[in-house]
Amino acid sequence: MTTAKVPAPARAAARRRPFNWRRAGAWALVVLAVAVSVLPFYWILRTALSTNGSLAGNATNLLPADFNLGAFKRVFGLQSPEEAVAEGGSGAQIDFWIYLRNSALFATITTIGAVFFSAMAAYAFARLRWRGRNLVFSLFLATMMVPPIFTALPNFLLIKNLGLLNTLAGLVLPYIFMTPFAIFFLRQFFLNMSREVEEAAMLDGAKHVRIFFQIILPNAAAPIATLALLTFIGQWNEYFWPLLVGQEESIRVLTVGLGVFKSQSPQGAPDWSGLMAATLVSALPVLILFAVFGKKIVNSIGFSGIK
């Protein structure tokens, strides 16, 4: 804070000074914030690699208590019910492979559909001239204000009436055509793209469809990838809609499966290591995406929030 008061040359001097209490205090706060954000994830791993029986006696041991992979075997249904009960599991059949597959399908299909169709709409809003364009766009934008639960109730009825409860189609349909956010996000980019290449293509006789596929999409590859990444993570984490529509074992996604897994814990002593192993399995894809595209995700936040 003091740096703001000191004139520029003195500030440079302050930066060279070997030790500065204020700065050290500020750094300590930064480290604390990072620790609070990150350390809980280590605790998931540590618990997942422990056995339930040993957890109670070693509450603060930083390393796994009685290291073993039983919890992960339990999660993937590789343990017999007897073994599972012996290790503190519920013994009920649960197979996270199915949920993992469902989550992957749900998140991938909705992401591809929403990003592609939203890109088409964004092109129409940003690059084409037609009557009512602004009116329709503001209508689309207004839907960002409607709370998801409000449309979830009637949408549930619609999916039920169509006989699509507990089907992949039922899960996917409300998201696949567009999301208002995606349209808004891409329109911003399309508006700022240069017209020159597009015009050259027009002179060569290219039609809009070709321009969209061969000029707009390739030139907007970076924002489209970012949007796809954010959409995928959001869909992977979605809970409410899959809870309503995908309750059967065969169509459950990971978030819903996690809730079921938790509620199956025996009374009194939950299967903590199993629960944390399941949590880790569910978080893994996002953790991997984050490890690979971390910088992209971080840098996109400033943009997505404030246009």
Binding site: K5, T60, F117, R129, I149, F150, F177, L191, Y239, V286
Partner: protein, 310 residues
């Protein structure tokens, strides 16, 4: 490419050029491009919104047909102690979130701006935000466990009594709010950080020349110039907080007693556990109205659209 058009911003450019170029409209091709999104918009946003409002005036148990009962649902809600409790509980949750999250995030944003601009640190702070609510809930369900949770172990080791974070009426909501704050703190900080970076440096230099203290600089320059972002952050936080569901649904299920039965969970229970869709829809309309009012009031009072910079 005449000199005239060169001054136009890219956005204006994109809008104006075709106007001059070709008189005709692109309506046909635009309809083609917008068709899928339009279907999604009408079927899954527009019609459900209207249908939700209609259903709120009916009695509907999913099995039969909805019967029109006028404002009976709303009259019942006005006399429903569980609704008022849910509203109170939700407001408590929202309040803790706004204060805690905004204060912590602003602090973090200032730290990132002045001390540590590293992408690594920003990434670390963003990590909780990328996790599902369900995962954050289960993780803290374990960390805050009364018996063998690590947090209670620390609380005990410094000589304080253990806290039944999820099991006591006074802690149920603050605990949910703390989990949410943990998850969103870094994200909110990043939004504010982006806002801080857009404040031009020379404004601060002028303040320095005038001999402003750091606190004065913060109050008179940083906060006012950050206002558009702050308003956005507040709106996002409040609207998000009013719709808390996932954490409650996997931890306390509204309990103990009604201590954490937030509005959205109450709507869910009415519609899906008790099959009272009309009543649930009416509750959802009320939530909708509350959110719209909140956004409107915040925009109005905090003058979110204007920046002091221009």
């Amino acid at each position: 490419m005449t000199t005239l058009t060169r001054n136009a911003s890219p956005a204006e450019h994109a809008v104006r050029r075709p106007l001059k170029r070709r008189g005709q409209s692109d309506l046909k091709i635009a309809l083609f491009f917008i068709a899928p999104a339009m279907i999604g918009f009408i079927v899954f946003y527009l019609v459900p919104t209207l249908r939700g409002i209609y259903l709120s005036f009916t009695e509907y148990s999913i099995l039969g047909d909805p019967t029109w009962i006028g404002t009976a649902n709303y009259e019942a809600i006005a006399k429903d102690p569980l609704f008022w409790n849910a509203l109170a509980v939700t407001s408590q949750y929202v309040l803790i979130n706004i204060v805690l999250q905004t204060a912590l995030a602003l602090g973090l944003a200032l730290l990132m701006h002045r001390v540590a601009k590293s992408t690594w640190i920003r990434g670390a702070l963003l990590l909780p935000y990328l996790m599902a609510n369900v995962i954050a809930a289960l993780l803290w369900f374990w960390l805050l466990d009364y018996q063998i949770g690590i947090v209670n172990y620390f609380i005990e080791s410094i000589g304080l009594p253990k806290v039944a974070f999820f099991g006591s009426e006074e802690w149920a909501i603050p605990t949910q709010a703390l989990i949410n704050t943990w998850r969103h703190m870094g994200y909110t900080a990043l939004l504010l950080f982006a806002g801080l970076q857009s404040i031009p440096h020379h404004v601060y230099e002028v303040a320095n020349l005038d001999g402003a203290s750091p606190w004065q600089t913060f109050r008179k320059i940083t906060v006012p110039l950050l206002r558009p972002v702050l308003v956005l952050v507040l709106i996002v936080t409040v609207i998000g907080s009013f719709q808390v569901f996932d954490t409650v649904a996997v931890t306390t299920l509204g309990g103990p007693v009604n201590a954490s039965r937030v509005l959205q969970f109450y709507i869910y229970q009415k519609a899906f556990t008790e099959s009272d869709f009309g009543y649930g829809s009416a509750l959802a309309v009320i939530l909708f109205v509350i959110l719209a009012l909140v956004a409107f009031i915040q925009m109005k009072f905090l003058k979110g659209n204007e920046s002091d910079l221009d």
